[in-house]
Subunit: 355 residues, 2 copies
DNA sequence: CTGAAAGCGCTTACAG
DNA sequence: CTGAAAGCGCTTACAG
């Protein structure tokens, strides 16, 4: 008992604590209604085989006692949790939040709740989240992976857990995966610039160890090669530069006799970062380049000129992956599948600028 | 057995099914290691009081059997799920996804996983999600409410469930809530326009039944009144117009001798919708008004002119609410609290345009 | 330092 | 249409 409590407080606290530690159970409801535990279970689960009179009596006891079924017990008995987990880089990123919403909708349609967890591209965090979800016995797992090795999941998959990877394939693990056509998307974006007359095209991509970043760079190289254009390695910039670095690199790329006339940015963060730098330099030391970005983003149509993008389908990735997961839960047995979603070019002006 | 299966398939399927239905338990590990169930429990939970030799033996059995603790059982026994739920309008909206990320971080810091659910401002959906989470016995609930009545949660709170409301207060229920200073924010935005010389200011807000929409409108009215400016009710537009309606209303507001010289938009969806309409009408039938929007958004600095906003702190809302929730879980007993987070004006050009 | 027994709150399998 | 018994896989309380 805390210092300064009066007797009334003591009772109030005892009630609070006991309320917290003990809610009405089916047994309590059964006793209150004068029926058996099993009959309460039938009523709670909407089992038809209960006479209306009994049902009403039980229903009254349920309301009176504030009973709500404890799903932890149900989960333990049935082995199903009606929950799935989604692990991604950062739910605050519009790409991932759109994907999350699509997953949520498929989950809801299948009577499942959704756990979400951001791992910030940290392999350790991914593993920690994934195994925590496994311990909770989620019915399935959806992962935008950060790890470079997924053998840690092998025992879980062997035990029957279905997992679907999104946007990047699993490593050292056989599992379903849903991807964007990164190579084809980048290739089409570069081809678009080449068709517009550009022959010297700079490429800014994410850290090359990231699957999608490597794929998109490959698309760039293959498009250039297809059109018989040489690539100067100085035109390629991979990583996550800070503002100052980016600005310096842009100056380097966009000035001098060997400058590029167009830029391709490998994801929307890079596109926006480049836009911000270009906007800051109105008294620019360089001519504004043509620009095509991988990934659409809100307001891409409202800046001037509008930004031409290679659009992915984040909602489609989430939806297709979740549907595949529920196919597995419904009993689909087939070798791991790899699905690839197409991209589309949305021309808005920045990519149609002449050299 | 499916048609076309060969005996090998049958065994494979049986193994798959049995793998799904039966994982190694602590009992299995105990038998395998030749120790008692309790000792396995001690090892799994990192209990110090186990001699190293025993610990290693158990650890080996755990790995060999692919054991992972079943948290459903643990949850049933302990009454704690180490999970919290977050219900909001739409996780794909940047405002909510930012908020979600902040909640996730606080949850992770407290060893909790996070359930998220979007209810699309549908009261029925909110209730369904909330009660499903209650049945799972989440340790706490975070709600951006859609419902106009929360008595349905009273039995749950009475049973000890802590709940914190975010962005909008609960109705007919005593619970913690974290709000944005909507009245003050809108008032400061309007005052900013008035200081710039505007006397005729149009107001576009969300459906007035939404708490924040009503509060912000109140801020508009009070700022106008404070400065002795009359408000023509024709200047006020509440709701969610489609493109054609919005365009018609903008033409009405922005043309003629009685036109307004500035607009205040009550949320970022309206701000963007207005921007889109203004951008479409380069051969506009009206002069471009000054514009201040409630809510910041990405790229607000990249359109021309940059958009002046009254910025909220979505991450702050999520963080503060989650911290309050964990304070309650840590035993804080105090009357329900109402916290209000301040807004700030970010001037970028659109709001500094002269009448 | 280790273990045997009870029990968390449900559903399952079976009986009548 | 209704019920008594067993058990899901852990942790708790207690004993030695």
């Amino acid at each position: 008992m805390l210092v300064g409590m009066v007797p009334g407080d003591r009772r109030a606290e005892a009630e609070r604590v006991s309320a917290r530690s003990r809610r009405a159970t089916m047994n309590d409801v059964a006793a209150h209604a004068g029926v058996s535990l099993k009959t309460v279970s039938r009523v709670v689960n909407g089992d038809a085989a209960v006479i209306e009179d009994t049902r009403a009596k039980v229903q009254r006891s349920i309301v009176e006692l504030g009973f709500r079924r404890n799903d932890s017990a149900r989960q333990l008995r049935t082995g199903r949790t009606s929950g799935i987990g989604l692990i991604l880089e950062d739910v605050a990123d519009p790409f991932y939040s759109t994907l999350t919403r699509a997953v949520e909708q498929v989950a809801a349609a299948n009577g499942c709740l959704l756990f979400t967890g951001s791992c910030d591209d940290d392999p350790g965090q991914e593993q920690k989240l994934a195994l925590a979800l496994c311990a909770r016995r989620v019915d399935g797992l959806l992962i935008v992976p950060a790890a470079a090795d997924h053998t840690y999941l092998a025992p879980e998959l062997a035990a029957g857990l279905p997992a679907v990877f999104i946007d990047r394939p699993p490593v050292n693990l056989a599992a379903d995966v849903v991807l964007t056509d990164n190579v084809g998307g980048a290739r089409s974006g570069i081809a678009h610039l080449i068709k517009g007359g550009h022959r010297r095209i700079g490429y800014l991509g994410d850290t090359p160890s990231i699957f999608t970043a490597a794929q998109r760079l490959e698309g760039y190289r293959s498009a250039m090669a297809e059109h018989g254009l040489p690539v100067d390695e100085e035109w390629i910039l991979m990583g996550r530069p800070d503002e100052a670095q980016l600005r310096a690199e842009l100056v380097r790329l966009l000035t001098g006799p060997d400058r590029v006339t167009a830029l391709f940015t490998g994801n929307n963060r890079l596109t926006v970062a480049v836009l911000r730098e270009l906007a800051r330099t109105t008294e620019a030391p360089f001519a504004r380049p043509a620009l095509v970005g991988f990934d659409d983003f809100e307001l891409a149509d409202l800046v001037v000129p509008g930004i031409t993008v290679v659009a992915q389908d984040p909602a489609g990735l989430g939806r297709v992956a979740a549907e595949l997961l529920f196919d597995r839960l419904a009993g689909l047995t087939a070798p791991p599948r790899r699905l690839t979603l197409p991209t589309s070019i949305i021309a808005r002006g920045s990519g149609e600028q002449a050299p």
